[in-house]
Symmetry: C2
Subunit: 434 residues, 2 copies
């Protein structure tokens, strides 16, 4: 996906705002996800591998099919409370997803100042990486699940503490985590009233743009190669105005995080396309960072802060599961059809431990898959991924491949090479096997 | 009121964002609107005017009690269609208000390119100025009531046309109009879909911040002394984000315009105070630029763009008039009690010609005053204005005055002088009479 690289000098300032790029519209043919590759295969001596059978296996997908990995941390570090359930959960997780989001909420990560719980997340990140899953950290700065000890500090010290934690986490996880929600929910940050917290105090004093600058600058300095996101649930013009202010301030946003928790109703194509149209204008890749779709009763529409909805029992239902599968498929298809979208992260595989106790998982409390799980797995692993196939090279050692973007393993006579198909359209490649 | 004067250098840029000032909270004692003046009166030779009777008459109010003057333009230029009604309307208007907003909608001001209707508004502005009323122009840039000929232009030419009209109007009215809505409703400007128009096309290409910069820069260059407003109806966090982006971009906003059209429900104290709290944080004076309070049925809450509500007949009702008077008094009292608010402009005195045909005027269609008219006049001309009084100076020529901010005429033995009380609190003044 294109990054914003043009600088627009105005009034002595550096704005990263770029005029809308043409062509950022949905394409159901998925041309932006595919490539027609003409590959010429040679052996280690440069001789064409003519007239040979080649086994082609797609081993990774460029598109990010993500899920939170919160529930697997205890299992990974050997502290599972329910080993059978957790082992099955891990298998079900890995059968679908290639991106994991891990929790860095300051209030949980460092409940006591100076005693960060780094080790367990290091272990979890390593485990995911070993399974070929890329890991993202969420979030470096946020006003919720905030460390209570920040409230004892003056604002200058709050700023120092936040800068310190950003640097510390990004450095400690460098090489394992290369994607971070640098800052979360800035739109509401300085006027958040549900709970007194140090981040809101600082944001009220400094303003939204300084808060973003602080988070991005510090994370960028700690890992210049990281992909840094601005993430929000507010899909209104407020988020647009915030983004334009950040770009004006010269803050380089690598991807825009858009949440899509659908506890009150599924977005449907119309809203989803409208959101895509508005937020793709900036020429910055879009990550759908937090998606929840319920398989039970919906939350009443008058609830404004989803956290205000507290129920004792919120079951998954047969009718709800059918609806969830339909809603999920529509959501994923719509997002996947838009060239600006780089990833979709589902906000929790199992109903157990779901945020708000909502039946938003793809697995029931007993661990059995809901229809939505099967639907998503079918899309991800069958429809949007090439099946293993055998093709024969021609007299010049060439073969033609209709591929989804991602890494492909080519095997000839027991020897393999990897071809990374990372550009859509008609492309040529030279592959040395052996 | 304090202007933002501190510059905050960050990363080589000039942000006008300032930390929230303390003390910007409502004060029902109205200490911020009043002064206790100890004035020493001398004659032309410098001798104290000891032991003399002084008549004190407040001749102007510092606070802006405004109204649109759209309906009076035809009357002023001698093209009234109903002379008796219009003459009475003018009297009723001048009995309450000291600020007039005049219409500069491009589609009405210059419906045919190159033929601006400057003369009629010049005549109107002059007439108001002669009555001691300050005049404001609304708006220099907006996407609604937009000139259709802009649609024939390329975006670069749209920009040139907008810059040209800003310069032309601000220069032509310099000395008569010193306050302008530089740009209107920027939050929605680039995503406005109700009507294709040239301003939205430009805004989508340039982004919100460049649109604001264009309007403020051009108007400032044309009249460096003008008071320039950013004006919006969107009271959500979107407007906050927009303002913070503008300040980051170094755009000097002299006053924030907040609309309060209450066609769907009256705000009430809670919402009004919450809005005041959020928007007074920037240390920029607040102008309530567009207030409408109905005396008839309310518009259903599901209507999102008020322009979508079309009814044949929307009458004022007795019950509605009672409610309107109550709502109006609460709104004005709440705003007047907040030190950040500098003016309130009512959006139309008579029901005749009201936007959307709504019964939001303070006069019925037959011209008779509704209770809200009497209520507002009582507040403005009696409760918040000192009555004419006679006081006696002491042996040193001193007198003490408990005044509302504004100009006061002091008359001793048929000779007068003007004392401008423009600072709240305990102040001293020397006044030469004669």
């Amino acid at each position: 996906m294109g990054r914003v690289t043009g600088f627009c000098k105005t009034g002595g300032m550096t704005s990263l705002f770029a005029p809308p790029a043409p062509g950022r519209t949905p394409d159901p043919s998925l041309a932006h996800r595919r490539a027609l590759v003409t590959a010429t295969l040679t052996d280690g001596d440069g001789a064409p591998l003519a007239d040979r059978d080649v086994t082609v296996r797609q081993r990774s997908q460029a598109f990010g099919f993500g899920c939170i990995g919160f529930e697997l941390v205890d299992h990974i570090i050997g502290e599972s409370q329910d080993r059978g359930y957790d082992a099955a959960l891990a298998d079900q997780w890995l059968a679908v997803f290639n991106r994991a989001t891990l929790p860095f909420y300051l209030g949980m990560f460092e409940p006591e100042r100076g005693r960060p719980r780094t080790d367990r997340l290091l272990a979890a990140a390593r485990w995911f990486a070993e399974q070929g899953v890329k890991v993202k950290g969420h979030p470096l700065v946020w006003h919720t699940v905030c460390a209570p000890w920040l409230l004892d500090l003056e604002v200058e010290e709050i700023e120092r503490a936040l800068r310190g934690r950003i640097r510390r986490e990004v450095e400690a996880f460098s090489g394992l985590i290369d994607t971070w929600d640098a800052i979360n929910e800035v739109v509401i940050m300085p006027v958040f009233t549900a709970e007194d917290n140090g981040v809101t105090r600082l944001a009220r004093q400094r303003g939204r743009i300084e808060m973003m600058r602080l988070a991005f600058e510090e994370a960028r300095a700690a890992d210049p190669g990281a992909t840094l996101l601005l993430n929000d649930f507010d899909m209104s013009t407020a988020y647009e105005c915030l983004i334009e202010g950040a770009l004006e301030a010269g803050i380089r946003i690598d991807a825009l995080g858009l949440q899509s928790h659908m506890h009150q109703e599924a977005w449907g194509e119309e809203k989803t396309l409208e959101v895509l149209d508005r937020f793709s204008r900036y020429g910055i890749p879009l990550h759908f960072t937090e998606t929840t779709i319920l398989s039970g009763d919906l939350m009443p529409g008058h609830i404004r802060d989803l956290n205000d909805w507290q129920v004792d029992h919120w079951p998954t239902t047969e009718e709800g599961e059918h609806r969830q599968a339909e809603d999920l498929e529509r959501h994923y298809r719509t997002l996947y059809s838009h060239p600006s979208v780089e990833s979709i992260t589902y906000w929790g595989l199992p109903d157990r431990g779901m945020w708000l106790g909502a039946p938003g998982g793809l697995l029931r409390p007993d661990g059995s898959p809901k229809p939505a799980y099967h639907r998503l797995r079918q899309l991800v692993t069958e429809e949007w991924r090439a099946p293993e196939t055998t093709v024969r090279t021609d007299d010049d050692g060439r073969l033609c491949l209709d591929a989804f973007l991602g890494e492909h393993e080519l095997t000839v006579g027991g020897v393999s090479a990897v071809l990374d198909v990372d550009v859509p359209g008609e492309v040529t490649a030279d592959v040395v096997v052996g």
